[in-house]
């Protein structure tokens, strides 16, 4: 029993655990940023599950057709932006009920992804990137990185962060950019007001619909980017792995009250719980008792969501639809 407990705690000291946590967190963070952008303008991005998958599939197809490492994320973002444009137009000027429309978009997009995947690849072969997992290990050999990781007290977490694939840094940069744009630019001010008091935006001659469609497009581009990040970090594409990620990102953004800083913490916490249960399964040899452990991060997020709903909804009221 005691060895089990120390074994359970020992996972936290394992470098692989932190690497896994960061790999899980990165795509979630990017997708959550997209959800935040939509949420600031008063749109609940329930289509995120589909857009995330679409971005992942776009990444897979781009690599499959031989596109370079820099083009792949761009294609995923473009696919996401297109879906966001359509979704935003349906919600804002056409005024369809946003939650039901979001579900429809998610259903439509995942369906199309499964169709395209089924037609492109053999029906039962899991999609892997033709070149195998993208190898980012060359980063650890950079002189600056090597010195930092060699320091005595950096610890496993530090080592994992410093040796992390560039996608993590891209995600953190995007988070900084998003926070800056939302809080310190004229555009961000208008976005925030179009969520709470759209008539104030109209009174200044600016278009609320335009802002919402734009936020939906850019936000969905980020969600697609997040999907591609999952494929690039894990080196494989499978619908199983993608399932529920998009929605988790949305939930975390809601729990964080649509704030970038808090979302970062929420995403990290979620990723740690998820990585933890994976490693627990490996350590304890996949016991039957842990069959449902993949649900653990979702369960914890659910409880926190319910606990924080009252204050979040009071500060950021959404439309009833």
């Amino acid at each position: 029993m005691m060895s089990g407990l120390s074994g359970a705690l020992g996972i936290l000291a394992d470098a692989a655990f932190w690497v896994a946590a960061i790999d899980i967190a990165t795509p979630l963070l990017i997708a959550a940023l997209g959800a935040i952008l939509c949420g600031q303008t008063g749109m609940l991005a329930l289509g995120i599950e589909g857009i995330f998958t679409a971005g992942a599939l776009a990444a897979l197809l781009s690599v499959h057709f031989g596109k370079g490492l820099w083009t792949v994320p761009l294609v995923a973002a473009a696919v996401g932006a297109l879906i966001g444009l359509i979704s935003g137009t349906l919600t804002s000027p056409l005024q369809l009920p946003q939650r039901t429309t979001g579900l429809a978009v998610a259903l439509l997009t995942t369906g199309l992804c499964q169709l395209v995947f089924g037609l492109q690849f053999a029906a039962d072969a899991p999609g892997t990137l033709p070149s195998g997992p993208i190898d980012f290990s060359w980063i650890a050999h950079l002189p600056a990185v090597a010195t930092l990781t060699g320091l005595p007290y950096v610890g496993e977490f530090g080592r994992a962060v410093v040796g992390a694939p560039p996608l993590l840094y891209a995600a953190l940069l995007l988070a900084l950019l998003a926070s800056y744009v939302i809080n310190r630019t004229p555009l961000g001010l208008a976005l925030r007001v179009s969520g709470e008091n759209p008539s104030a935006v109209t009174a200044q001659g600016r278009s609320v619909h335009g802002l919402r469609i734009g936020a939906s497009a850019v936000g969905s581009a980020l969600m697609g980017l997040g999907g591609s990040a999952l494929v690039l970090t894990s080196g494989a594409f499978s619908f199983s792995q993608l399932s529920g990620r998009g929605f988790a990102a949305l939930m975390l953004a809601i729990i964080a009250g649509w704030r970038v800083g808090r979302t970062l913490l929420a995403v990290l916490a979620f990723a740690m719980v998820d990585a933890y249960q994976i490693h627990l399964q490996h350590r304890l040899g996949d016991p039957v008792a842990l069959t449902l452990s993949p649900l653990l991060p979702y369960a914890i997020a659910f409880v926190i969501l319910i606990a924080t709903s009252r204050s979040t909804m009071r500060r950021f009221p959404l439309s009833a639809d």
């Binding site: 001010l189 008091n197 009174a203 200044q204 001659g205 278009s207």
Partner: protein, 544 residues
């Protein structure tokens, strides 16, 4: 409506004369011709021609429903008229250019600014942020706050407007919020400034200060167009008065040649009689609030130790501008909000459960403050809305089934009896105009012969004739022994109808005093939170 027929009932000299030119008229800055906009089967504006000159104060005088708001919205770009053109003079003296309608952005760019009737401010933003919202290019990577502040300070000095721009606007008084909205319009350097019924939300003192500020604006060459229902205001401030009635322009006159009676006549074509409240004994206490406390996250919705008593056969008026707790008070009395402290007694007893359902059962009539949002279900028909409160009475249901014929007959009777202008009883309530929705809710209240009426801004949006009718109805109810609580910002309404008046300010209620203890000026002071002290008003502003 036949305009000629109306004019025949007015027995004084013809209206359509332009002011005698004693000095050369200043150049016109905006010329509108033939502005027409339809609404439902009729017209909100019918072929209106309007010329606005530099540096003049033009007052659009008209009743509710006369089309002045539609006209202002057309000029500001909120709506596009069906027909008509708007020409604006070129500041460099070239030929006047057409202002394409329907775009607020274009209107602002060409120099047409507006302070909307509901102000359209972002509550959680500071005054400063409200003013600069959307004024900088969205491509700018950073906000230039200092330049904005400098410009705003210059405007504040030039027009002597004082207001604290560093707090969120939800914490400002009604007058300060108005100043923010005005600064927002002035920040865009307008050549024409439109104001849609500005004095309805201001205390009389703030209103007087506004008028002084408008004069300063006009002196700098800005053309000011102010819409109002009050002939006194028109006479006080206008260089020129344009009167609208039923969507058409019926007069364009100079105030020097008019007085209160003639303008009233233009407005309605018939004299308005105020109801007289005859003295009579009051009965039992129907509603009593004892030291009611309501806490709230929003500072504007708190109530602090409110005590109040309303007896059968009397009208208690609660005066106050919005944002001082009226909504919460109405919610408590409607059973929507439970007080954190204190007691609410109905017929001397504390009810076990305060819910709207209880009030409906007991026979209390309530008019919500915003009838469109809170009083009717837009997707249901007019008939269904009329019967919604009474649906569980045996008049309209039998073993759970709706008595459709009875409901339809009831609706037809109400439509006719209360003058509700709906296309049919099956029309969705959403297509009704604001005034008709108000009438619908009032009809619902009055028809039940209630023992107590909570009248929350009951005449909002109503034209003068209906305004008078509602007042007469309230007076009749009072004579019948109904207890009435009247919550209003309209000083005249409060003074006309109430037996006692209490002033609600910052969540506190003054002890209700007999109405004869007040006049317009003193009531206005108290509504602005200034006790009973008179103050010298120099410049225009409150706290900095």
């Amino acid at each position: 409506m036949n305009i000629q027929a109306i004019e025949r009932t007015v027995d004084f000299s013809p209206a359509l004369d332009h002011s005698a030119a004693e000095e050369p008229a200043s150049p016109s800055v905006l010329t509108a011709s033939g502005l027409t906009r339809s609404i439902g089967n009729g017209y909100a504006n019918q072929g209106i021609d309007l010329e606005i000159r530099e540096g003049e104060i033009l007052v659009l005088l008209g009743d509710n429903g006369s089309g002045k708001s539609t006209l202002i919205d057309s000029l500001a770009g909120y709506v596009a008229p069906d027909r008509g053109t708007i020409l604006m003079s070129d500041p460099k003296g070239r030929t006047p250019k057409r202002l394409k309608p329907g775009s607020v952005r274009r209107a602002i760019a060409r120099g047409v600014g507006i302070v909307p009737r509901d102000l359209a401010l972002a509550d959680k933003l500071t005054g400063f942020d409200n003013i600069v919202l959307g004024t900088e290019s969205f491509w700018r990577p950073a906000r230039n706050r200092s330049a904005g502040r400098k410009t705003i300070d210059e405007i504040k000095d030039q027009f002597d407007i004082r207001v604290d721009l560093t707090v969120p606007t939800c914490r400002l008084s009604a007058g300060d919020r108005f100043r923010v909205a005005l600064l927002r319009a002035l920040y865009r350097t307008p050549r024409v400034l439109l104001l849609d019924e500005p004095t309805t939300i201001l205390t009389p003192q703030d209103g007087a200060s506004l008028i002084r500020a408008l004069n300063i604006l006009a002196e700098t060459g800005i053309a000011v167009v102010m819409a109002t229902r009050e002939p006194e205001e028109a006479l006080a401030v206008a260089d020129r008065i344009v009167v609208l009635r039923a969507g058409a322009k019926i007069a364009d006159v100079s105030p020097a040649e008019q007085n209160h009676e003639t303008l009233r006549g233009f407005l309605t074509g018939q004299p308005i009689t105020k109801p007289t409240l005859a003295y009579h004994a009051t009965g039992e206490t129907i509603l009593e609030l004892v030291k009611v406390d309501v806490a709230s996250h929003d500072k504007r919705s708190c109530l602090r130790e409110i005590s109040l008593e309303v007896r059968a056969g009397e009208i208690i008026g609660i005066a106050g501008t919005s944002g001082n707790g009226q909504e919460t008070l109405a919610a408590v009395i409607s059973g929507l909000v439970a007080p954190a402290g204190g007691k609410v007694k109905l017929f001397g007893r504390i009810p076990r459960q305060m819910t709207p359902a209880l009030f409906v059962r007991v026979g209390i009539g309530r008019v919500p403050p915003d009838c469109r949002q809170q009083g009717v279900v837009g997707d249901m028909s007019v008939a269904e809305n009329l019967v919604l409160e009474d649906i569980r009475t045996s008049d309209f249901e039998h073993n759970g089934f709706l008595k459709t014929r009875a409901i339809r007959e009831h609706a037809t009777r109400m439509l006719a009896g209360y003058g509700i202008g709906a296309p049919s009883i099956d029309a969705s309530a959403a297509v009704l105009g604001d005034g008709d929705i108000q009438k619908l809710v009032l009809a619902r209240v009055f028809d039940r012969n209630p023992c107590f009426i909570l009248a929350d801004h009951p005449t909002r949006g109503l034209d003068l004739r209906t305004y008078g009718e509602v007042h007469r109805r309230l007076a009749t109810e009072r004579a019948r022994g109904t207890a009435i609580l009247l919550i209003s910002e309209d000083v005249d309404e409060l003074l006309t109808l109430s037996d006692w008046i209490g002033v609600l300010y910052d969540g506190r209620l003054t002890m209700p005093q007999p109405t004869r203890a007040f006049d317009r000026r003193s009531l206005g002071f108290m509504m602005g939170g200034h006790g009973s002290l008179a103050q010298d008003w120099t410049g225009w502003g409150g706290a900095e």
